[in-house]
Amino acid sequence: MNAIVLSGIWGVVMMFAGLFLKSSKQIQWTALLGIIALLVVSILDYQAHSVQAQTYFGMMTIDVYTSWFSILITACCAMYLLIFHKDIAAVGKNEAEYFALIFFVMCGVYLLASYSNLLILFLGIEILSIPQYILAGSDKENIKSNEASLKYFLMGAFSTGLLLMGMTLIYGATGSFDITSEKFVGQFEQLSSMSSLSFVGILLLLISFGFKVSAAPLHLWTPDVYDGSPTAFTPFMATIVKVSVFVAFIRLFHFSFGNVSDAWQIAIASMIVLTLIIGNVTAVYQQSLKRMMAYSSIAQAGFMLFSIFAVNSTLAYKGILLYSVVYSLASIGVFAVIIKMKDYTYDGFNGLAKKQPVLAFTATVCLLSLVGIPLTGGFFAKYFVLSAVVEQGKYIWIVVFAVLMAAISAYYYFRVIRSMYFKTGEAAMHTEPTTWDKTLLILNAMIILLLGVLPSLVFG
């Protein structure tokens, strides 16, 4: 709860920082101070809630799982801000406002992690989305950034409409927004007694969530938005925001709709298959690394959907926690290298290993983790979400299919590694990395490797 309050307050603080602080350095330091404070507060929250869950006004329930996720996601955000704070400030003139919007998004993230009322779910998703539309369009001179912003806004507004429609139907069937109330729980106890209103409601919520996590066939906005947005904000949208929507997704569909999973599991299964095919196969044909990462984020969402698919499995919760952290850190690590380059195509990376061995090494570790090679965190992340489905015993063929798709993904990830190590070229840099950047990137890569050996570190 304190983290929610602090993130809201720090957004306002950042706003005033833009007014009173003259130098860009000071603004960046204020933002870093804020995220560190947020990390400390979320750890304190965790200690306060580790004994028993607490309900706030019947709107939010904060338990161990929730507050532990808050710590992890804040840590990922801290890593993002530490690596990218200079690039964020370089995007445009309203640097303090960009940081303010990021803190507001964090407020939405905490709400999504802990809601127990559909109203808070809606508000959380909106607080998460609206600042993102702005961040996508923050490079105002660039027409692609404008396009990204408008596209994201229109599609996002449409999916919010579906979300609200779904909530309305479920409210009509249950008479309550509170997902812990008797009326709500009773409605979703078994499939035979569920009204048709709830069925359509669940379907609409599924579509809306699928849109937010960019699952196919609702992924169409993703490549243009991730590609068009300033490179400093793309990793934020693709990682921290996406995984927190996943946590909201799993919270509603496992805790509330878990007993009626027969009604929606088949829809998720087809989403997974489509997402994996479209994400992986299209990524193979991309020439720009930034666009490839956009498709890769669709493909990775396909894997994360497995944790939604495997209902009532503890492995699924562990899997989504590990996947969130590993995927976020690995994507942040890759984008941190992309943003330093002048040319975002594969050829632009030729010969990077000779010129910047540290950057090439950290990018390699991150890419290997995205493939899911053993000894990196990505391996266990994929292992947990897939074995959650195997444990359930249904739809084993999807697991086989997913492993095949992971093999395809190796092609486009390894292509980057090949460019960096085995091709000769200039690898023109946009900005030279400082020692501080390199230290952070090595730390990031080390965490990924550490999680590849000791994945239990993120289970709390």
Binding site: Y56, N94, A100, L123, G137
Partner: protein, 172 residues
């Protein structure tokens, strides 16, 4: 058929009729005006249900606020008098199919679901009650969402300024 029923069907005809006109007219400005009448009809429906406060909110927010906003944006972006282009046949067919699917979805719900009439209100919709509920901090009170909305609005406000501002204001 008593007076209340007649009133209901009149309001329903107004909402649906102007709604239909809003989507079929080829002039954007007229569509906005038809939408205005549709929204007024909704407000009338709330009055008919004796939800006076909600009816007032409907008039103030939707009729007064949203429609004016829509008209403003039409004047800022489009040539208000010009007719919109007729869409290609393929697009029209797809739009018709999509609209029909939406209609079928809603109709199936209405037909399948048993709506039981009830005389007892779950809550008296007086302004006092709504106010107490909105700022209540006990279970079922909406104080938390109320505060969260303020963060949402602040974020939206900052965002729109960032997007709309040409150069950052220099205040010392």
């Amino acid at each position: 058929m008593n007076g209340a029923n007649i009133l209901f069907y009149l309001l329903a005809a107004m909402i649906l009729g102007s709604g239909l006109l809003a989507v079929t007219t080829r002039q954007l400005f007229r569509a906005a005006i038809y939408l205005l009448f549709s929204l007024i009809g909704m407000a009338g429906m709330y009055f008919w249900l004796q939800y006076e406060f909600i009816a007032a909110v409907q008039v103030v927010v939707y009729v007064g606020g949203i429609t004016v906003l829509i008209i403003f944006s039409i004047f800022l972006t489009q040539q208000a008098g010009e007719k919109m282009l007729v869409k290609k046949t393929g697009q029209q067919i797809f739009a018709a199919i999509a609209a029909f699917c939406g209609f079928a979805l809603v109709m199936v719900q209405i037909v399948q679901n048993n709506f039981t009439a009830t005389k007892n209100l779950s809550l008296s919709p007086s302004v006092t009650n709504i106010g107490n509920q909105m700022l209540g901090v006990d279970k079922g009170g909406y104080a938390l969402p109320f505060e969260v909305v303020s963060i949402l609005l602040l974020a939206a406000l900052i965002g729109s300024i960032v997007i709309a501002l040409r150069t950052p204001t220099q205040t010392s």
